[in-house]
Structures are given as C-alpha cells and as structure tokens.
C-alpha cells in the first residue's frame, strides 16, 4: 500500500539537467538498472515507423537511449500496460514504470480490485502538460512533436486533448516518485518522493532528499487553481449542452457501438463486458416488438444504454485520461462527458480515483452517513 | 431412558415464541409435536410489539416466518382454542386429555378473506388490542394473526345466545362457517411436556398512586405497544384520548415491583424502547423517564440506553411517585435522588408493570403435577442444575412461565428443553 506523504512532508531532491530533461531521466533509470535497483523499465518509446509511441518493457539498458518519458500522445493508457505485466501476480522482477499522473492513478485504482500488483513496481510520474489527440499526431508526426515540445516549454495546453485542457491533476502524485519540471530554476528538475519505496529508491540511487520543493508546490497549486476555474466553467457549459435527454441522445447518435472506448479504458476490467454479453442479445421477436411500440428501432441497438451503463459501472474510478475520446472513430466527446459525470459521482463520496491506494473504493465501503443528498431528493 | 415403550411425541403447551421455537426444533428431529394453544392465534405476546429491543427489529416480521413454518410443518399438530385438562402417567408415557373449544369455522375451507366480519351485528372490545378498539363476535384478534382463520365468541354471539342470526354464514362462499361444530375432548399419549405458557402483566389498578384506570391517557405498556403498532387500533398514530398529539410524556418504571418482590428484567429496556418510539413518531416530544435502578444487563443493552440518553430525554431516579390529573395535564409528584420533593406535568403517562404469571398457572400446575413458586411462576427444581427442569421428570418449563425474562432468554430455554428431551431419549 502506497501511503502518500502529507504534502508538507513530501521530500524532494533538486537534480541538474546537463543536456535535456529526457536525458536526465534516462540516465537516472540507467543508473537504477546498473545498481540493480530496477531489473527493467516500463516506459514509452517511439515506434520504428516513427508515427506513434508505445509502452516498452526494457531489459537491455542500452535501449533506454530511445525511451521517452513524456511522449506527445497516449496510444495505450499506461495502466493497461502495467495490467498486462502484473495481473496474474508480482513476479520477482523489480520494474520502474514511468507514466503520466493519470496513468499512475488508473494503476492505483486497479490495485484496489486486485487487477494489478505493484509491490515490485516503482511508479514514477512526471508533470504533465497534457496529451495531444492521436489523430492530430498521426497526420504529421514530426510537426506534432515540435508543437508538443514547445507546448511543454511554455506549458500551453491549446493543442492537447479537451479533457487535458481542464485537468487540475496534471501534477498529482499518487505513485512512489514524481519528476517535477515546474517552478524549477533553469537546468534543474525536482525528484520527489511520495512513499517509503520512493524514499528507499532514491537512497539507493544516492540522491539525498534535502532539496527545497516549495517553488514546485507553489507553481503546481497555481496551475491547478487556474485549471479548476476552467474546469468548472467548461463543465457548466457542457451540462447545458447535454443536460436534456434529447441533447444526450443527439450527442450519442453518431455512436456505431464499436465499444472502442470501453476497450481502451484502463479501468474497464471486466473479462466480458455486460454489453458484449448475451444479456443484451435478444430474440428477434423482442426487436420486432420494440419496433412495433416505437414505430421503428435503430441498429445496432441500445447505444445510449451502453454509454450510460458503462458510466454507471466505472464512473467512480474514472481518471479523466481521455483515452476513450481518442479511440472513438466518430469523435464523440465521450471523455468530456464521462469526466464531468465522474467529478460529480466521485464528489458524492469525497473520493478521487487513484488519489491514494489506501482509500478504499466507494463500491466496497459503507458509511452510515453518506448519500443523504440522494436520499433527500426522493422525500 | 431407553425404554422402547416410551412415546417419542412431545406436548408443548403455549404457542408463543418459546413454544414455537421448541416445536420447530423438535420437528427437525422428526418428533411429532402437539402444540396446544389456548387462544385462536400463535405468536403470544411477542406479536403485540411493533419493534423489539435492542436492534429495533420489526417484531411481526421477525416472528411471521417461523409462524408460517409452524403452520406448514407436517410434524406439528397445532391445536388452537385448546387447553390441557388432565395429565396422567410419567416421563415417556403421559396420557393427556385436552379440551378443544369449537372455532365454528372450518380451518381447511376458510381462506381468510375476512368477509364474515362486516355483517356481524355484535360489537365488543378487542382484548388483543387492550380494549382500545372493537371487534365482532366472529373475529381474528388483529390483522396478520396466524392461522388466518376467525373464531366465534360464543359468549357474545347472538346465535349462541338464542337469536336466529346467521349473517356471517350467509356471506361465506366457502362453506367455512359451521355452527354445528362441537367442542372436542382429545386424548393423546406423549412422552414429555414443555410448558411455555408465557405471562401477563401486573394489574396497574392495584397501584392506584399511578392513576391507571382513573386518569385518561395513563397507559400500560401493552396498551402503548398497541397504540404504536402499525396494525393496531390507531394504525400507529400516538394520540391522546382527545385526539390531540401529546407534547410531553412520562415513562414510569417498576410499577408493581414492590408488591411482587422481584425485578422483571425487561421493563427498563422496553421503557427505553418506548422512549425511542415516542421520539420517532413525535420528534419534538419532551420525555421524562422515572426509574429506581437502571437494570440493563447484557452486552448490547447499555449502548441502546446511551443512544436514548443522547436525545436529551430526562432520566430521573425517583421514589414515592404520585400521579394526579390537574386541568388538562397530568401531574407527577415524586421524590428525586436527593430525597427532595419535585413534580412535573405531562400529557401522557406510560406505565411499565411487572411481569406476572398467567391467571391459570396454578391450575395448570396442579394438572401437570408440578409446583409453583412463591411468586406464582412454575418452579424449576434447581436453577444451578437446569432452570427448565421441574420436580416432575418429563415436564419442562420454559420462557416467562418459569420467570420474567426477555425473548432471547426464552428462546434459549426453549432450545434447552429440547436439548434435554433429545439427549434423554
């Protein structure tokens, strides 16, 4: 269990950047492998064709030269990669996983249902400026990489996914270590410890935790507050747009029921989705009856039902990563809608998905004093 | 006792909670049980309560499943409106004579539709509802009574008093009403007897200082239970005799304790339960609870008490209580803890009377050949050996027939008597 250090207790170190931040990170990981702190590293890498990035589990440390800690896109949600490696147990390999904060949070969520096991994993996050929509990248990869580099320097989110543009958790630390790039002096970055494992790791790497991370915390707070304002306004506007059933139906009317959003979602862990199962397959008589009742029936049926059902099932664990929207071939704003609803549902329980592995899932906890607002609404 | 001639059937007297538990347990061991119940219904006094302490579970919901099991159990021969008249023989071979009064309604044909009540011209006070509502001469004591078959009160039925009335029979479409039924004498051979005849409460008129019977809105515990009950005379509305909602109430513990000479063990807890009832139905009500020693033993009871205390209710250790009517209110004069005189005025008073043996306990004891103790309860031989065993082998006493106790203890004794029987033969 990762026990998060209280923010005042978070200890960090200030490290210097000799060439680029990416290089510094690579060197750190190499050092870790050299000293046997890590046996392998899970980190994104640009694919040979150059038009995408992929998570790679690296055992040969020379390949770390091509690793990219903060790729412009999220082709696969990091938690899914972690899930592939550890669903059936820990294994003895010590792995360092370098991912974005929302990917770490999704991983933490999955530990709560025993879907990933991270005892032998060191989860390392990094300040995230956002993720580019994948289609924007694929069109012109080289141009996109430049755009992303600039955006990272100026911390400008205009080219990022819509959910990233209103993300106030882009520097949230939920894992063991965090790489801070905000509020630094020139040519320096922070490495912050958030757990005993993180602390021990830094010790083994001879990195003393005596740096002052106040400037990082101040900048992060500033950014978060700004984003929260934006988030509130955006959600308000979104609610007006899809608040009524008709609007909702319109929004999802383009859906082709490919279920891609569900497939790429890191917290959709069911072996067989309810909506792929026999429970939604009816005899033709049933469809004829519906057609009779309503005049006509659309195929594939139950589209909005699929989204509402999926929302009901995973909203409490949604980390607003936006992978679902990237995967939608019809460009439906699923992430924006799901993220907005997740804020509300998680808010009912004062819960933030993946914030801490010590926080039990609202699904599994019962408090005498909860949901009064829902109860009262029915009086 | 491995006498091959001993009879394995068991007679259980009383179909209250203890009698039901004992019967069901015996049936599970494939023993035949003859369950004799004096009234027309099962469940005893437990079904008079709306909720039970300390988890405040719905009493009828708790008992209904086992009543249902009882009625459908093939091993249990339920004889309602029946009483034991004579017992001869000994452990393993008792010969019991039972007098079963006619119900005048056929239990196989009647489906419990209640259509026969409406046309009956006779109106009487309903004893089950403590006289707070009326019933007819053909009646079931309360909604939900099981078996759901009415009986005819021949003492008041017009037909049985010489008049030519058959209003009920006319409306019954199942030919279930049979005026020609006769009382029956049933003789049974059985191996052992379990006495589970329960209790009644001390007559509060014997303690005139509490004003019961003289002052309106002074109620006994059972009366209040029926007022609060959702299937009771007011469907659960707590109202004064003038129809208004009480703004204040007093609960008086230990009524009759000095006269009877023992603590009835459940009254402090059920008075706290009443306190809870009152604040549930009337949140702003002001309650004063008058007690002498708070008797709340058991791992779960004190926390119930503490919950009630948190509501701000007044718990007053008092003595020498006098209750009189003054104008619209009821005045309670008392001596407080320090011995100082004090008084308070309330709209309603609820008395917690002592638990006393049933009026016919001594008669039954003679029939069974067991003794009763100085308080009138059936006497156990030695409670440090087993409190269900009497001086007569084969006759066991359980529940409040043996002494005042709560439902958990009654059920334990019922199971214990079964344990004793099954381990003996």
């Amino acid at each position: 269990m990762i026990k998060p250090a209280a923010s005042s207790e978070k200890k960090g170190a200030v490290l210097s950047i000799k060439t680029t931040i990416q290089d510094s990170i690579r060197n750190l990981l190499k050092k870790g492998m050299d000293q046997g702190v890590f046996d392998a590293v899970l980190i994104p890498m640009r694919v040979p064709a150059g038009d995408s990035f992929s998570y790679v589990l690296i055992k040969d440390k020379s390949l770390l030269n091509n690793a990219v800690a903060l790729p412009p896109i999220m082709s696969v949600q990091g938690a899914k990669a972690v899930s592939s490696v550890t669903r059936l147990g820990n294994g003895t390999m010590k792995i360092a996983a370098v991912m974005r904060p929302c990917e770490i949070r999704a991983t933490i969520e999955l530990t709560k249902l025993d879907q990933v096991h991270v005892e032998n994993m060191t989860l390392i996050s990094i300040d995230c400026p956002g993720v580019m929509p994948i289609l924007d990248f694929i069109r012109e990869p080289e141009k996109a990489i430049k755009l992303f580099e600039n955006a990272t320097k100026s911390w400008d989110d205009t080219i990022m996914r819509p959910v990233c543009q209103i993300c106030d958790k882009s520097s949230m630390i939920a894992g063991d270590l965090h790489i801070g790039t905000l509020g630094t002096k020139k040519d320096a970055f922070f490495i912050i410890s958030n757990s005993k494992k993180g602390k021990d790791t830094l010790e083994k790497l001879d990195i003393p935790l005596n740096g002052n991370i106040d400037s990082w915390q101040i900048k992060v707070k500033e950014n978060a507050e700004e984003k929260q304002k934006k988030r509130k306004k955006t959600h308000k506007d979104l609610k007006t747009k899809i608040g009524h059933l008709d609007n909702l139906l319109d929004t999802f009317s383009q859906c082709i029921n490919c279920h891609n959003c569900m497939r790429v979602c890191p917290v959709c862990y069911c072996r067989l989705c309810y909506f792929d199962s026999d429970k939604v397959k009816h005899p033709s008589g049933e469809y004829l009856r519906r057609a009779k009742e309503k005049g006509s029936i659309r195929f594939l049926p139950d589209t909005t039902l699929f989204h509402m059902g999926r929302m009901m099932h995973m909203s409490l664990s949604c980390v607003s990563c936006g992978s679902c929207e990237d995967a939608c071939p019809m460009s439906i704003p699923v992430a924006q809608i799901f993220s907005m609803v997740a804020d509300e549902t998680q808010g009912l329980f004062d819960y933030v998905a993946g914030r801490s592995s010590g926080e039990p899932l609202p699904l599994k906890t019962y408090k005498k004093d909860e949901l009064h607002e829902v109860e009262d609404a029915h009086d | 006792m491995k006498d091959t001639q001993s009879n394995s059937d068991i007679l259980v007297i009383g179909a209250g909670i203890a009698g039901i538990e004992a019967s069901l347990m015996l049936s599970k061991s494939d023993r035949k049980v003859h369950l004799v119940e004096k009234t027309s219904y099962t469940g005893g006094t437990t079904i008079k309560f709306e909720d039970v302490f300390s988890n405040m579970e719905c009493s009828t919901c708790m008992v209904a499943p086992i009543q249902q099991e009882l009625l459908q159990d093939k091993n249990i021969n339920l004889l309602t409106l029946a009483e034991v008249e004579d017992v001869q023989g000994s452990f393993g071979n008792f010969i019991v004579k039972i007098h079963q009064k006619a119900r005048y309604v056929d239990m196989k044909n009647c489906i419990g539709c209640n259509a026969c009540f409406e046309p009956c011209p006779v109106r009487l006070k309903n004893e089950f509802e403590e006289g707070l509502s009326e019933r007819k001469a053909i009646y079931v004591p309360c909604a939900g009574a099981l078996p759901n078959v009415p009986m005819i009160d021949t003492e008041h039925c017009l037909r049985f008093n010489g008049k030519d009335c058959h209003a009920c029979q006319e409306v019954c479409m199942f030919e279930a009403i049979d005026f020609n039924q006769k009382d029956e004498q049933i003789t049974l051979t059985i191996g052992a007897i379990i006495v589970a005849t329960g209790y009644t409460t001390f007559d509060s008129r014997q303690t005139p200082q509490y004003g019961y019977g003289k002052i309106d809105d002074v109620y006994t515990a059972f009366e209040f239970e029926r007022l609060y009950a959702s299937n009771g005379p007011t469907e659960g509305k707590i109202l004064l005799k003038n129809g208004k909602t009480p703004k204040s109430a007093a609960l008086i513990h230990c009524v009759g304790r000095n006269i009877k000479g023992y603590c009835s063990s459940v009254c402090c807890m059920y008075s706290l339960k009443f306190n809870h009832y009152l604040t549930l139905k009337i949140p702003e009500i002001k309650i004063s609870e008058f007690y002498t020693d708070l008797c709340i033993p058991g791992k779960s009871h004190q926390k119930f008490y503490e919950k009630i205390r948190e509501t701000g209710t007044k718990l007053i250790r008092a003595s020498d209580i006098e209750i009189t009517k003054q104008g619209q209110g009821i005045v309670i004069k008392y001596n407080d803890e320090r011995g100082k005189k004090n008084s308070t005025t309330v709209d309603m008073v609820i008395l917690a009377p002592a638990i006393v043996p049933n009026g016919d306990a001594s008669k039954l004891a003679k029939i069974l050949g067991v003794t009763i103790d100085e308080y009138g309860f059936f006497k156990e031989e030695n409670q440090n050996v087993s409190s269900v065993v009497t001086s007569k082998p084969g006759v066991f006493i359980v529940g409040c027939s043996q002494g005042p106790k709560n439902i958990q203890e009654s059920v334990s004794q019922a199971a214990a008597s079964v344990g004793k029987i099954l381990s003996t033969y």
Partner: protein, 561 residues
Amino acid sequence: MNRKIGVYICECGPNISEKIDIDKVIEAVRFLNDIVVVERYKLLCSEDGKKYLTEQIKRYGLTHLIIAACSPRDHQLTFMEVCENAGINPYLFQLANIREQCVWITADKEEATKKAIRLTKAAIGRVRCHSPLEKKEMESNPDVLIVGGGIAGIETSLQLAHSDRKIYLVEKTASLGGLIKNFEKTYPEMHPCSISIQQKIETINKTNNIKIFTDSEVEDILGFFGNFEIKVKKNTNEKDSVSFNVGAVVFATGSTLFNPNKTTCYGYGKFDNVLTALEFEKMNLSGEIVLKNNKTPKSVAIIHCVGRTEKGYCSEICCMYSLKFARYLKDKIPDIKVFNFYSDLCIPGKTHQKFYEQTQGKNIDFIRAKNIEIAKKGEHLTITYNDEKSGKNNYDVDMVILSPALEPTADTARLAEFTGISLGDGGFFAEEHEKLGPVSTSSQGVFIAGCSQGPKSIPDTIIQAEAVTGKILSSLIPGKKIEPEVKVSFISESFCIGCKTCLDVCSYGAITFNETKKVSVVNEVICRGCGNCVAACPSGAITLKHFTFNQIYQELKAAIQ
C-alpha cells in the same frame, strides 16, 4: 426446448372469481408461446384441486407449471409437492400472486383484471427461464468439538455424549472446571458448588465417548457444517498435533475479568488488600479471609461496576456476586462491617430481589456512589466518593474487593477467524440473531454458549449449553444426511476478475479464493443463497440459481410491457 406450460387460475371462491374477469386472463395468455393449456379451477389448494392438477400434468405431459392464485407464503410448498409427485422438477413452477398482491388491494374490476394478466404473464416469462434444480444430500459427521472446559463445555459434553457420537473437549488450562472451580458457593441458593462440578468432571473422565485434551488449543478449523477438519495441539513442549473430523463446533470459551490495572482510581496493584472478585473467591475458598499482614479484616468495601464505563455494558452478575461476597464475609467474620458501593442495583429475575433483601442486614451498608477513589491511609484504605444525598464523603476500610466487568477471552478473535464468524458487541462472539438465534452463529454448525456469547450467570450458561445440545441433536443426526440449500450462488470462472469483493460481502464464509486460478469459488454447502455476492460483484460474474438475470429480466419485462 420443448416446453409445455400449463397455466391454472384459481378462483379462490368469490375472492378472485368475482373480483377479476378470469376468462379475460385466460384469453390473454392462451396463445403465448409454449402454453398448451389454460384452465380455471375453484380451489386448487384443496385435495380435489391437487388431484386435478396431477391429472392435468399427466394428461398434457406438462414440463412447466404456472398457478395464478394466492401468496407463495400460503401454498408455494403445496404446489411444489404436487409437481414433484407428478414428475415435474419442483423448480419448474411459478406461483403468481393475484390475490394478496392484486384482487385484495385493487377495487376496480377492470384494473384488477389487467394487473392479474400482467402478473400471470410475468410468471410465464419467468418460468420459461427456469432450470431444474436438484436437492443435494451430504454425509455428515455426527461428532462434536467443544472448545472450553468450563461449565458450559462440561454441560454440553455430558448432554451430547452418546454411543453414536464422539465429543472432543479441548481445554487450554491444565484442568477442567473453568471459573466455577474457584467458587465456594453459588447464588442465590448459597449451596457449596465444588462437589457438583467435581462430580461432573468425574463423569466426563469416565465417559468413553468424550475425549479430553487439556493444556491444549485449537490450531485450525477448516471445512463446514457436517465436515469440519480440526487440528489441536498441546501447549507443552511436545510438538504433537492431533487431527480429527467433526460435524459441529461449539465455542464455550467463557470470559475473563476486566483487569483493574487499566484504571487508576481503585489502587489495584498499587496498594495491598485491594483484590479482584476472583482473587477474593479463591481466598474465600481456601477458608481464611485475611489481610496481607495476616490479620483478620474488620471492614470491607465491595466496589461494583469496575470497568463498566470502559467496557460499555453491564455484566449482569456482579451485583449478585457482590451480595454473595457480603454473605461470605458475614458468615466467616460475623462482626465484620461490609459496604457495597454500587451505581444501579442490577438484580433481575424472580429470585434475586429476595436474595438482596435478605442480604440487607445489620452492618451491611449499600451506598449508591459515583467518582470512587481509593487511597492508602496508613494500614487502611480510604474510599472517597460522591453520594447523591450528601455530596462528597469517605470511609476507611481494611480491604477492598473490586467487582470487575466480564470480557471475552484472548482467543475469541482467533477462533472467530477460523470459522468466519464475527465478533459482536463487547468483542464477544456474535450470535446469529439477537432474539431468535442466541446460540447459533452465521456459520452453520458453529455454536456458542455461555459467557463467550456475553456476560451471564451460571443458570443462564447451563441453559445455553443445553440449547446448543438441542440445536446439535436436532440438526446433526447420526446417519441422517444434510440437505443444503438448493438456490445457491454460482461464480463463472471465465468472468471472475479475482477482485475478492464477494468474499468481503459474504456473511457466511461460503466463498473462498482459488490462488492458482485467481478466481473466487462458492461452497454450495455453506451458501445460503442470500444474493449479496451477486449484487456486489463488479463484473457480473456471479449468478444466483433460481434468481438469474434472465429470469428476473423476463419476469419484469412481461410485467411492465
């Protein structure tokens, strides 16, 4: 699927036949799929009715049966029996309640008819999805493990021991007898009690079918009702572990006394001549009541309710045994002055008030006191307290006896864990139901008796021991098979994600986790079919037999279409 469904609508006299148009109901369902016959009948639950149904089933070769009539509470079992006798699996039957849930609550005939049609269609929709379920039978072991050799364990052993049942009695100390061994007399009779307990122990020693393990503890309990696997080990140096099988387990581990060391106001452990109740019982039993300096005490204070605030409950027996102590003292030292300091006198029951009144005699004072503090004053002890009448007060005495609360023994938690039962109020074993199930637990076959269930007197302990006997004798009968619940849960291996949520919500310990396959598994023998796991499963991998998704969905759909 070659279904042949027969639908029978009961007229129930005027009850149903006058309140709805039965013919309309017949018309509404006659042509539905799989329906081969729809009839109405005067009274289906009568003997004639049952005969009629049996004939109909045989005549039409029915595979499924629908009856629209009264509440299942009344006749579910009746009609299931009819099915079984006529050769239909009793679970291929559904009873639609068109009486209590329709005609008895709907005044308008047309509305009632419409509703009756819906209810009948719903039952038909459901029954199409029913699967036959078979009754299961299991061999069971009639032997019993009793943990704890105090009065409860002894009584249970003696009552259960029989030629066709072995009893294993495990006691952690060196000898049987429990706390009672230390008492000279019991209240209210004040008869010497050591003889009777010795006799009982002798009887146990002589009884062949009772195997006694002293200086031993239970190491493990695996399995379930009818089939428990027990491991017992001796506490001495021998690493001997004994294993055996039983059908039922009884926890009669008693209780221990709250340690007054946890309080500071009574001076226990600090001052001489401050004793706990148990220490005083032992001193009394030895025959000589003396102070540390061997002198006879001239005055004794007995403090009730020690630890009551800390524990949060009244231990029921302390007021009575404090009165017993007053009697012990007066019997042995007639001139001694005795003070009972109490808060509320708890003396429930028909014999206890008399005992109290008879104890109130010369020189036994009863003081209702609060805020008691004990200090040393030379060779004596001073008790300061608050009295409701006169405020602050004090008394000097030679000896103080503390009456501490009863609390569960240290191994309660461990034993509870072995068997999946929980601890309830006060940390005592949780009974299955506060009122109706005082000696059983949520795990079938695991029973509790005596002070391990909660503080209580010796007579009540004996009663619970006898109650456990009754429970075991009526449910674990040598040679008789156990019939576990039929409508149980079932976990699909392929859909289970291994999150273990179901294990958390199962109150009966019926679900275990298979570490190799990383899936949860239901033990069909223990499962009671409550459905908690079905509702809690985040990925819908669990079904409840006879309450499957499809069955409920089809029933609902037909009802509200």
